[in-house]
Symmetry: C2
């Protein structure tokens, strides 16, 4: 295969080039021949929905997903409803941007009751689902690494996300597999196979040893210990053939010019992931 | 129950009072009426085995466990054998100290092959087991939090530790349940029940939000989000009736005088764990 074909699944999640604005990200990807972008709502708001969509289309770039919905658990019914409303707005934005998938970071518990928070997540998804289904959008339950169980997500394993997606059993709900969040799991290959066609997103980065930071410690592809190729092959074997988002939260990478980051991402995507 | 009876299961893991030497720890526990200590090998070496054992006995303090054996995976057979030899020495030390349990921190992988590293752990335990069994010592497989999968332990869930203990199926091997490592797991109550009589140690601390540090970020009982009482009740219901070690790696707590730490540990043990 030519590098062009091989890079055809590469998507730049714009969290990787945090210091690029929305316009720069589109221009940078166009120059680098990267045909997909994973968008974040706060970045999109820089240009607005219509203008972002127009520029993406003009550059021939597709949207792999929009980050993020979720954050369902809250202490009161009123706040939980506000979170649902926010998710409905995120659905609208995803649709206007042409994103096929809205990634859900499910949210932490408002107190010590993990079981209740997990029920709130599932309830929240049920409430957003009809609205998403009507618009042809898929919601991706993304299990986060268990080190985020207290501050980001009570959904922490692929088994848990799979079970939730299976209970909901709708074409509007799938799971996102992010290697950084699931690589450590003794059941990860089993659960990827189980997820099968429910996989609606695949994200790559690397796990540095030791981890330099709680939130900004992800590594460039190949700089850490994750079996990237094996995981990519497993996801492919499960039936996923869509874009692969490179999503690296790392201060050092953020401080590097976007052009350089994207060049290295392309190189490492070929050598470490494919 | 009187506070005396209620505190009868409290064990101070000496990692909690890192700035106390071995002698101070024994004296401090004796003054505070704490009847158990969880020992660390490097602390024991300050006084030596015989003298530490003599002072513990003189103070009427029992040893709940010795930390730590393990670190089985290594790149070469030679180094793996050195690790086994080190574990045999740890067994000898545990026996001389009267510790009923040697806690195993299983070790990280020497490369990207997690499966192979996990096999090395199990092989290592099989090699140490006869020596421990002959001496009436139990080895405790301690699953560590998945955030330590790269630098401390390829054993990261209670399900994984349980499966390993069940395969080995020996009275000389059990599991240690540390709430800090397992609290996030959607299957934790199921796996505690499954572990049953294989539970040979129970450790408590708390999970702070957000976590202040990779290694030294554990919280004082009650300062975080872990359902401590519920987990203690589950472990009790599974059949564990032994000492409960308070093990808190936290720089701020280390910088606090040991007397104060121990007083607070006693108070919080009563209000948060029992």
């Amino acid at each position: 295969m030519s590098a062009h074909v091989e890079l055809s699944r590469l998507s730049l999640n714009q969290a990787t080039t945090q210091n690029w604005g929305m316009a720069e990200t589109i221009e940078g990807c166009a120059r680098a021949g990267v045909g997909w972008i994973g968008l974040w709502r706060h970045k999109v708001s820089e240009l607005g929905l219509a203008e972002t969509a127009r520029r993406l289309s003009g550059a021939g770039i597709q949207v792999s997903s929009l980050c993020r919905g979720g954050f369902f658990p809250a202490a009161s019914a009123e706040v939980r409803q506000q979170r649902i409303d926010e998710n409905l707005r995120a659905v609208d934005e995803a649709v206007e941007l042409g994103a096929p998938v809205l990634v859900l970071v499910c949210g932490p518990s408002p107190d010590r009751d993990l079981d209740a928070a997990r029920r709130m997540v599932e309830d929240g998804i049920y409430k957003v689902l009809p609205y998403a289904l009507d618009r042809g959008l898929r919601l991706a339950i993304e299990p986060l690494h268990p080190m985020y169980a207290g501050d980001r997500s009570v959904v922490v394993t692929l088994a848990q996300a799979n079970a939730m997606a299976e209970r909901i059993a709708s074409p509007g709900v799938g799971v996102a597999v992010d290697v950084y969040h699931v690589w450590w799991d003794p059941d990860v290959y089993l659960e990827i196979a189980r997820a099968g066609r429910n996989i609606v997103g695949f994200h790559v980065s690397d796990w540095l040893v030791p981890p330099p930071d709680h939130l900004l410690g992800r590594g460039m592809l190949g700089d850490g210990v994750i079996e990237l190729r094996r995981l990519r092959q497993a996801v492919d074997a499960a039936g996923y053939g869509g874009p692969i988002e490179v999503e690296i939260f790392n201060q050092q990478i953020w401080d590097t010019p976007g052009e350089q980051v994207l060049a290295l991402v392309k190189e490492r995507f070929l050598s470490e992931v494919l």
